[in-house]
Point group: C2
Amino acid sequence: MNDATLLALETDRLMRRIEAQLARRAPAIDPAKVGPLGGMALLTLAEIEPAPTQALTTRMGRDKSQMTRLIHMLETKGMLTRTPCERDGRVTILALTPAGHALLVEIRKLMSEVMTEILEPLDANDRRRLAGILGRL
Amino acid sequence: MNDATLLALETDRLMRRIEAQLARRAPAIDPAKVGPLGGMALLTLAEIEPAPTQALTTRMGRDKSQMTRLIHMLETKGMLTRTPCERDGRVTILALTPAGHALLVEIRKLMSEVMTEILEPLDANDRRRLAGILGRL
DNA sequence: TATTGTTATACTCTATAACTATA
DNA sequence: TATAGTTATAGAGTATAACAATA
């Protein structure tokens, strides 16, 4: 087993654990059923809003056709707004609604709980290092 | 944005990059079309074989019904064998075939290339630290 | 009663290509 | 020609529950 392969497997396992925990506990805070990917999209949009669809797509590393449907779902559920860009007719600008922000508060709380649980084996130094390393990637 | 949430988002982004790179380059080495999850299963099984289905399922953090189908697919394609356990009639023991091992050589090579590319921004120290931290999780 | 593994089913996520409208 | 976004569609991955066989 080479190191690079092991690293990929371990990253996958970590992500699976995060996803499984979130899936198990999300229903309690997600009556609108935006789903895990919807939650990720709201979190990511919060970092950059207001922003064109394309910026959110790139930042999430997902496919643009997938994002179209995801964004329409979030719009239908009142979590974000789509506004045509004045300067470029091809572009749609996304922004969170108050309902989107309210849901984000709950999502962040849940994320924080889940991550605290998963990162429990690490001391403060390791957590800082992990954050630093992921930030550089 | 709290730290725990950021960490989860960054882990997701990292995993997405790994998956996208693998998906893009896998067809060249995967004529049998075991797919990314199939590849992960072979890599994981290689760590513990021979092993009962249940052990592989736990280690991959996936659902057991999902694993049944995945394992049958890999068996059909000649990558692993399913043998009834002599001591416990409920258990099936999984082992890689020569074809499975041969494919693994290619998968590891590809994984190594992809991870080398993705981990490029990190120096040797960071890589060692990241491996250590993930190992502890 | 509990566990291993299977089947069925519904749902979510992903990838591809063809399309429009603007630039 | 190129880019932003949409639509259609097929395929891959996930979650749940009900089930048979064995312990």
